[in-house]
């Protein structure tokens, strides 16, 4: 399998866990929001979608190829961490709620994979450059 150096770059477990913590942060923010205010219930779907989208996009930006797999893995890891955290720290999380959250996380992960792949193939600006390839200032592998 012919892989260039850039395509061989993959996120680490630390990246996935950081994404999971960020996803739980967004979900926890929505939980707190519903404790003090009463926004319309569809907003919670949006929060869960964003909780899958934002961390997965950030993780997908750190891969050189295979964005779809990375996005789905990141969503699944985020869902697992969020499920455990919600079960431990809050109460009332039903199986239906967790299943809907998984669906929204996966949708967010798929969207993030698409956005990251499009960004990698057609970066903003005139032409792709090496500087855009390391926009997170990561050390060279």
């Amino acid at each position: 399998m012919t892989l260039t150096d850039s395509r061989a770059r993959r996120p680490t477990v630390t990246d996935y866990m950081a994404a999971a913590v960020l996803a739980y942060g967004i979900v926890y923010f929505s939980v707190e929001l519903y404790m003090y205010y009463s926004p319309p219930w569809p907003i919670s779907y949006l929060f869960h979608y964003l909780a899958g989208l934002v961390p997965s996009y950030l993780v997908c930006r750190r891969t050189g190829s295979g964005e779809l797999g990375v996005g789905v893995k990141s969503s699944a890891a985020s869902w697992g961490f969020t499920t455990v955290s919600l079960t431990v720290f809050t109460e009332g999380s039903t199986m239906t709620f967790l299943a809907l959250m998984l669906i929204m996380f996966l949708l967010g992960g798929l969207t993030a994979a698409y956005l990251a792949l499009r960004r990698r193939l057609k970066p903003r600006g005139a032409e792709p450059s090496k500087a855009q390839d390391n926009s997170l200032n990561q050390p060279a592998p």
Partner: protein, 149 residues
């Protein structure tokens, strides 16, 4: 060398088929969606190839011997994950502009026609914005030309 039954395919033949597929996808500007789709089906392409041998291949001889051979050839090529990965790499290179597609068959992409004399850039009028966009070379390719934005 790929061999299945009476079919023997060299690496050059495989690359030619993959290149044609990549050019067609590039022509319609569907690289991103195609790469995502290929990545998602890559783990099950072997199962899909074997299923198509059972479900589709028996009907191919009814279409003619050339389609029978072509169908076998395509199934043999696209049931290998390595070839799917090759196609993804080709598409990524084409999307980044690193590898210009050949012009011998099909319509060449607009970038390759850059040597042809272009019309001078006329000031954009409000009357026919679509026509102006087509003239200055910024005409959307493929299915995107039917989008209103």
């Amino acid at each position: 060398m790929y061999s299945y039954g009476d079919l023997n395919l060299t690496e050059e033949e495989v690359d030619e088929v993959l290149r044609k597929a990549a050019e067609k996808i590039h022509l319609y500007g569907m690289e991103t969606v195609a790469i995502l789709t290929l990545e998602s089906v890559k783990p099950v392409v072997y199962v899909g190839g074997e299923l198509s041998r059972v479900v589709i291949a028996p009907f191919l001889p009814a279409l003619g011997p050339q389609y029978d051979t072509l169908g076998d050839k395509l199934i043999t090529i696209f049931e290998d994950r390595k070839n799917i990965e090759k196609l993804i790499v080709m598409l990524e290179k084409m999307a980044k502009g690193e590898k210009a597609p050949k012009e011998k068959d099909g319509k060449p992409p607009e970038k390759t026609e850059g040597a042809a004399p272009k019309e001078p850039e006329a000031p954009k009028g409000d009357a026919e914005p679509k026509k102006d966009a087509a003239e200055d070379g910024s005409k959307p390719k493929g299915w995107r030309r039917w989008l209103p934005f």
